[in-house]
């Protein structure tokens, strides 16, 4: 299962969900779903998001440890 701290990165950059959605070319609902963990983005979208925050993909998205 993929987890993410997109919300934290958005807060760091003081960016709204709507603004991020527009920058990466998806709907706001998609950003909400990613933050909630109910939707895993494609590699392309994850790369685009990482590029917006000037960081690596694995800084934002990571695998949740299985017990």
């Amino acid at each position: 299962m993929v987890n993410n701290n997109l919300k934290v990165w958005r807060a760091k950059f003081d960016m709204t969900q709507d603004k991020l959605a527009k920058k990466v070319g998806v709907s706001r609902q998609t950003i909400i779903a990613i933050e909630k963990g109910s939707y895993n983005p494609s590699v392309e979208l994850a790369l685009k998001i990482a590029k917006i925050f000037n960081t690596r993909v694995d800084e934002i998205f990571y695998l949740r440890e299985e017990k």
Partner: protein, 214 residues
Amino acid sequence: MKKVSFLFGIIILVIVTLILSIVFSPYFMMLMFLYFPLHLFYTESRMADEREKYIRYRAGYLTFQISIFLFIILFIQQAITTKTNPDAIYYLLVIFPIVIYSMFLLVQRLNLARSGRVILYVFGIWWILFAMLENGFTAGGFIQSSIGIGFFIPAILSYRFKKTASVLCFLYATFLVAFFLRAWKTPLLLLLMLFILPIPLYYAAIVFLKREGG
């Protein structure tokens, strides 16, 4: 502009539905369901993001499963109540979505040539069984089932001679189309026969000609 034409489409749909429902029968209210393809067409015309596409795929798959289930129930119910062969429309309702879905799925799971072969074998065997069950082990049954045996020749040839197999499929399918157009005058039966026999052959003819990617 697209939004205006979409709204215009909905208004037309509502007016036409209401007029038909008032003048003829309230059952024409079913036409309201045409809103969904209209809406899909509208949303399709703007860029859908990957999550929306995923949701559409899920919705489509779920709809497919439920529809197949309902069509099979309808088919059985029709067969039980009439105690005869259900009308061609019931066969079409069950077979049409399954065949389309299977063809797409096969290409994804197998390579192109193999998917063509599987289609030919499956439809060939299916037709032979159907002909035998309908006519029994009679001369008529053997003649009818020979149509299915014809599917195996291009399938076997395709292991080594894909182009020849493709040409054979194409010619055989065209012959069957010409034959059915002469033999069947009922449009639904004709459509059913075209769908069961020539369409898989045309499909195989195309995939045998295609080059494998990668």
